[in-house]
């Protein structure tokens, strides 16, 4: 029990350290006996919270009960995978820029920690202000990643920024290239977990256009035939 409470305390400490961009966090983190568990927990929390913030998608698609919970968890897991790939991209770019090779597992853990600001992602639920808050959190996450990269490679802030931005751009390129297969896999997982075909996606909602979240036609027939 004490171990578990200690673990929670360490997770909390790591989150706070990233939120406040505490530069001494790295030295503290390397002394932890269960670094991987702390880093993965932070990323899973960030992923689940981000989907909770976007849970309007789950509500509109009428996902409920255990499927709702599993969807949140799956989003957490997918965020761990996504950021692990991001870490590998940064690892490659970092090596090319600095000539220093950082062990891949350390890079992954560091990048997973940088997702800590997204733990507040549930605030995206806030009506009207939510999308703006999400953008702020994303920017905060990028700044946190910048700080983590600076610590990881022990480089000045501009070199760290270069590594972060190139790594980020590489991820965007990868996302674009793999968009179709990833979307197909995503739909398959969605159907498996929610038991429903996708009706509305987060993209549909964030596009800001009017949508009708019903499977049927709301229009009534005109008196003389045809639709209203």
């Amino acid at each position: 029990m004490e171990d578990f409470l200690g673990f929670l305390n360490d997770v909390g400490h790591a989150i706070w350290g990233v939120w406040t961009l505490d530069t001494s966090l790295g030295q503290w983190f390397v002394t932890l006996p269960y670094q991987t568990a702390v880093a993965v927990t932070v990323a899973v929390l960030a992923g689940a919270s981000t989907l909770l913030g976007n849970s309007v998608v789950l509500f509109l698609n009428r996902v409920r009960g255990w499927r709702f919970g599993v969807s949140l968890l799956m989003n957490g897991v997918s965020m761990v995978v996504l950021y692990a790939v991001q870490a590998l991209a940064i690892d490659v770019v970092g090596y090319l820029v600095t000539g220093n090779r950082v062990q891949a597992d350390i890079a992954v853990k560091a990048v997973l920690l940088a997702t800590a600001p997204l733990i507040l992602g549930f605030f995206e639920l806030i009506p009207y202000l939510g999308p703006g808050i999400a953008r702020i959190l994303q920017a905060w996450g990028l700044v946190a990643l910048w700080a983590v990269v600076a610590t990881l490679y022990a480089v000045d802030r501009w070199t760290a920024l270069l590594i972060t931005l190139v790594g980020w751009a590489l991820m965007q390129l990868l996302s674009w290239a793999l968009a179709r297969p990833m979307s197909a896999v995503g739909r398959w997982i969605w159907r498996l977990v929610t038991g429903r075909p996708t009706m509305l996606t987060a993209g549909d909602l964030l596009a800001g256009h009017q949508f009708t979240p019903v499977e049927f036609d709301f229009e009534l027939p005109r008196a003389g035939g045809g639709k209203a």
């Binding site: 849970s55 605030f123 639920l125 009506p127 009708t212 499977e215 008196a223």
Partner: protein, 332 residues
């Protein structure tokens, strides 16, 4: 100490805002979509069915401001305006039985987890209208206003309120497909709810107009479905001004927004009523403050809405003139 209190207030406010959309989202997920199906089936069955009695000439639905607790428990100062409209328009249907801040027309004192709290507040408001606690009602309903205006939540929220408005119209004898005009009057936040619901009401082919009284409105897509929005506003109304500032789609540079589109097409008319405030004192429903022409602010508001309803120009007031003798009590 003060800083800690401020942090606590901000955290509580954020949490209230965060959980605000869950009522309408939960309603949609659990039964809203099915109810919408049933309502559509009922309406399709009734479509074109002639009314048994001569129907009213026109239909008006009054949507209260964010101080409402349910369809029937609105702040007392609003009652005389609705009563006066009914008196002046005896052949029209003027209804105020829709609670705009719930997707299922369920008042705050109905079957809800916090119904007890809202009942106590309602009692307190009757006993002491100036007490602070009733502002919790305003805060709760204001959050629903933003839920309605949010592009993500609005569509489901507005299906709920559109359904309730349609049900109210049918209760009062509206014949679907008759082409009889319908006007929604939205006071304060009620104006946003009216615009939100208009998207779906428009799809049901209702000839629709909206009158906003000091409305705090966004650039809702419902604007695309209405014939005319008449926005009556006081020049001292801070909440109406706030609406213009916080909803970016209403900014002058918001090209292509539903608001800009409706303005360009001449479907938005904005009329300044004079130095009227939103609430507290010298507000739209104030029977004790008088314009220079001798009419109370309540009369000014009532006359303006009545004029718009019957298609007459709103009477202009020379606010620089010397005030006349008080004209006596407000219409009620």
């Amino acid at each position: 100490m003060i800083l800690n209190l401020l942090v606590i207030v901000i955290v509580v406010l954020f949490l209230l805002l965060t959980f605000g959309p869950l009522e309408s989202l939960g309603w949609w997920r659990d039964k809203g979509a099915d109810e919408a199906h049933e309502t559509l089936a009922d309406m399709a069955a009734e479509y074109g069915t002639p009314a048994a009695d001569p129907p009213p000439e026109q239909f008006v639905i009054y949507l209260s401001g964010i101080g409402a607790i349910d369809g029937s428990s609105v702040p007392p100062e609003e009652v005389p305006l609705v009563d006066e409209l009914r008196r002046r328009l005896p052949t029209w249907s003027v209804a105020n039985d829709v609670f705009p801040y719930s997707v299922s027309n369920r008042g705050l004192t109905a079957q809800r987890p916090l119904a007890g709290l809202w009942k106590r507040i309602e009692t307190l408001r009757i006993a002491n209208p100036t007490s602070f606690l009733p502002f919790l009602v305003n805060a709760r309903n204001a959050i629903q206003l933003f839920v309605c205006a949010d592009r993500r939540y609005g569509p489901t929220y507005n299906i709920g309120t559109a359904q309730e408005i349609l049900k109210s119209l049918l209760r009062h004898g509206y014949q679907l497909g008759s082409g009889v005009p319908v006007t929604l009057i939205g006071w304060s936040g009620g104006a946003q709810i009216a615009l939100g619901a208009s998207w779906y009401l428009g799809l049901a082919d209702l000839p629709l107009k909206v009158i906003s009284l000091g409305g705090m409105m966004s650039d809702d897509y419902g604007l695309d479905k209405i014939q005319l929005l008449t926005h009556l506003r006081g020049t001292e109304d801070v909440f109406e001004k706030m609406g213009r500032r916080i909803f970016a789609g209403r900014w002058p540079g918001a090209i292509g927004s539903p608001w800009s589109r409706a303005r360009a097409e001449g479907r938005i008319v904005e009329i300044d009523l004079g130095p009227i405030h939103h609430n507290d004192k010298e507000h739209y429903y104030d029977p004790d403050t008088f314009a220079p022409d001798g009419r109370s602010y309540l009369q000014v508001s009532t006359d303006a809405i009545h004029s718009v309803l019957i298609g007459q120009p709103v009477k202009e007031i020379d606010w620089s003139a010397e005030p006349k003798e008080e004209a006596g009590p407000a219409p009620a």
